[in-house]
Subunit: 326 residues, 4 copies
Amino acid sequence: MSKINKIAVFTSGGDAPGMNACIRAVVRTGIHFGCEMVGIKQGYQGMIDENFIPMNRHSVSNIMQLGGTILKTARCLEFRTEEGMEKAYQNLKKQGIQALVAIGGDGTFTGAERFSNKYDIPVVCVPGTIDNDLYGSDFTLGFDTATNTVIEAIDKIRDTAESHDRLFFIEVMGRDAGCIALRAGIAGGAEAIMLPEKDTAIEDLISTLEHGAANLKSSSIVIVAEGDKNGGAYNVAKRVKEKFDYYDTKVTILGHLQRGGSPSSFDRILGSRMGFAAVKALLAGQTRKMVGLHGNNIALTDLREALSGHEFKLEDDLMEMSSILA
Amino acid sequence: MSKINKIAVFTSGGDAPGMNACIRAVVRTGIHFGCEMVGIKQGYQGMIDENFIPMNRHSVSNIMQLGGTILKTARCLEFRTEEGMEKAYQNLKKQGIQALVAIGGDGTFTGAERFSNKYDIPVVCVPGTIDNDLYGSDFTLGFDTATNTVIEAIDKIRDTAESHDRLFFIEVMGRDAGCIALRAGIAGGAEAIMLPEKDTAIEDLISTLEHGAANLKSSSIVIVAEGDKNGGAYNVAKRVKEKFDYYDTKVTILGHLQRGGSPSSFDRILGSRMGFAAVKALLAGQTRKMVGLHGNNIALTDLREALSGHEFKLEDDLMEMSSILA
Amino acid sequence: MSKINKIAVFTSGGDAPGMNACIRAVVRTGIHFGCEMVGIKQGYQGMIDENFIPMNRHSVSNIMQLGGTILKTARCLEFRTEEGMEKAYQNLKKQGIQALVAIGGDGTFTGAERFSNKYDIPVVCVPGTIDNDLYGSDFTLGFDTATNTVIEAIDKIRDTAESHDRLFFIEVMGRDAGCIALRAGIAGGAEAIMLPEKDTAIEDLISTLEHGAANLKSSSIVIVAEGDKNGGAYNVAKRVKEKFDYYDTKVTILGHLQRGGSPSSFDRILGSRMGFAAVKALLAGQTRKMVGLHGNNIALTDLREALSGHEFKLEDDLMEMSSILA
Amino acid sequence: MSKINKIAVFTSGGDAPGMNACIRAVVRTGIHFGCEMVGIKQGYQGMIDENFIPMNRHSVSNIMQLGGTILKTARCLEFRTEEGMEKAYQNLKKQGIQALVAIGGDGTFTGAERFSNKYDIPVVCVPGTIDNDLYGSDFTLGFDTATNTVIEAIDKIRDTAESHDRLFFIEVMGRDAGCIALRAGIAGGAEAIMLPEKDTAIEDLISTLEHGAANLKSSSIVIVAEGDKNGGAYNVAKRVKEKFDYYDTKVTILGHLQRGGSPSSFDRILGSRMGFAAVKALLAGQTRKMVGLHGNNIALTDLREALSGHEFKLEDDLMEMSSILA
């Protein structure tokens, strides 16, 4: 394979705090190693629409502390078609782009894997999603910031819950993965946590809350992942209320609040390391890899393996602790 | 009137950040001037239930930075009856309590005014409510913190809105008063603000948004007070979406998040000044007054006047600015 | 006077949070009323160096939440000379700039007053300084945010002070004015506050601290304004330590941390209102005025009056409270 | 070994955010497994002074979000003597305390190792220190929060640095270990980082800054660990200033600000996991171990090994990135 001289970077799927730190690292690392760097706006859509912008060191100045992604992101149905892919490829070729860094979640990776296979263009992926639901990295980019955002919200709601002897149901992101719910629930001292990975019978939840009330807890907070099988916080609250009215009951849906905000130190470092490693991997001849955090090191995983359905598992001790410490 | 030697303080209605600063000031000022101080838990309910606690300087140590109220708060239907009031009065008498500081909103004040009139017990009220909807004070306790909480949320949501070219509808507190919506909307740079005080036709909102889209705004944020006449953020979003689908549309309801959090400097100072002034007013023989902020001074208003329906008005320049600056 | 069609805005002196909100309001209000708008970079220096940039609505998009000033600021000795002023004037004339909005402190105002007098160019000033030391406005732009920054620091230091039974001396900004020290001291629950406006004998401070220790306070925090006559926090700490070693003693100098940060809601609103009012005042034919907050209204003061040495006074009740509540 | 029925927990050395989460986990886990739990105030000093308090589930309610340590901490010279240790042991025996959880840094561990060896009392240690300088755990408790605190400060200082074209030297904690400096420097986008682990010649620093100035950087931030061999931020600033005066130069010493603050989600989870694991280890018959984070799992290390001088190493990729990304 000939030397890579021109690399493009893009973000795709849901935005996540830390993406800008990663873009900055990709651009500056590439330039450091002599490459020309390009940003693609709005992910795969931008490849098709020729939304390319040249990036130099200044293009990524003073962006590390910003939430979201300066390259924007979008979902793109057209890229799933043969024609869309072909158009994207011709546009990249026209630009002289020889390799890609893709930042996003599993949808992004699936597209990258197919595209790279078909057109033999090297691609390295960075797991950027607040959901922390990818195999091959202890943590995904944005998860730490999102969890901090959730516990700040829980801390605030605890103030008012305590003042009124209230029961709060707080719905957090996580359609398939309960990582945010589990960690934020423990870190926020929630009385109960409802996860997509685990069936919680409403009766069991009520008995937990009754136990707390009997122990004179003056307020209770229940964290509900949006993918919980009882149908979200409103439904859980309604069903609990029918049988247990010791407390005044309220519901809060945190929603997109969880995506934004200035990234935490952890996510800025993680994004920087991953972007740095992604470019180094491309220059070392790697392709179809995902960079990931393993312990305190960055390592590569085959994209196919990352995507092949290894189930992401919640940590056993966290699961055990969640009821013992509550 | 004989000298006051024993004063009780309580919080009632919705909790608000800064209430603890006020309780601390009431207790320490009272002690400084030689009074015995009592806290009543859960407002009027606590009077009826004899939920009294003696307060010394240490009782209020290290509470200024806490959201909520250490004395808790509750709504109390029983106090609206003659029997409830009588019971409360007998309990206060038994305790030797000679005067009251009541911290809360207009429901709290109405109760205080009736009670003080009937039993000739001096009472001074402190306007503690995040809604800023009381006559006789430029700002109510908790409003500044709540507004800061809302703009932090808007800033975060702006990150993700910008990354995705999205239109967000954010619902904020304010059933009758649009103060939070108006100020947070301006401070958060919202493209439009929907207030209870003002009819906004959906057509006008859409034309504002179309105008922004034509000017290449890559995202838009609309703040909706819960008391807006179109029926809240979900309804507004639904009706807008039917006719205007330039952006991907999302709704966030901030809810009780807005009540909590460590009070801002402004609210800590305001709570301290109001608590200090309330005790001094009682000791100077005042009764049935509300302390309020007028410019940069604390002044007293008759409770009756504060309650008599002077309509609270949104500032003219803010109303004018809200569309010009957006 | 002929109609004003082109207005320039600049920031000068120390930067303050909220300046960007003000710049945004000036630009958008001017455009709304049909003016051409110009930004001058680095204050008076930029006038001399012809550092002018045209401003449209987009130039001020998404800046409200940023600390500092996008127009930058600098001190400029040359502008104090006749030649410097003449050069600045000729440059403004060349640009067709007919009026100025100057955002800064009293140094900025002095320059603006002289310049406007000499060349008959209308100017309206906005008080932007974290020190809150200007006559003619209840609050200056940036003061609220700076005070919040200081109390967040005090809250953090309190954590560690409490854990170690320590005595902390925290130095805050305020060479001539103790506003930040007084308000942050009260809001942070400081045990003592040292102000430039008031001589505090070290012996009195020690006796206050001894009193606290005797009452089993497990930590103490003393706020020292940098202009305190005992010579700053290090000197105060040293002299206290010689005679009072009940606690382990530590010093923190907050320094420029106090200038930065995303502006509070209060400062965003204040900056917006002041910028809006400044442009309206210019268009109404006003000149050599300062806009200021009076109670909850914006009003104009003659620049000469604002500068004429009316001493800024700390609020009496705050002074009295500062020892009673500690 | 007979079954353990009564466990004591204490914090020692410098306080760190997350210690309260750990205390809470220790107490609740112990109670869950049928033990009686005791808190020792002020570490080893409290053992000698019989400063014991019984702990139940309520003793640790609502403490997870608090910085510092509710059990307080102190340095204790007396415990280093034979007599001090003997006294401590007799006091523990009198209380029926059969095992210890010690939360602190290497001073704490050294004491624990000697004590446990001498009196055959089981002890498990938790690495609680913001410096992240212990062998046997990827991260120590408090490090994540401290790093977040530092980058928030850098972000604020960047605002004012940018507005004034300034060069800032920010001194952060780290007498022997540059972990905070390295991570916060990268996450804050610092132009240069001075570490205890690495000699940086002032000439090299100046040439880095000159390079930045030549590339039109409008401000620069240099992070200096307190243990840097050039003698701290003031000295570095002074020496740079002598030869390079392109920018206006300022110094900020963050100091004890870095110790406080509500713990991050990461530290709350880490503290909870470590406390949980420490109690389980004791109940499983372990002693003289340190719990640590290895990747995403909690594992035990021999105290002797943790203390035996394995040098803690800064991550290679972070070292390499620190200059490439700046």
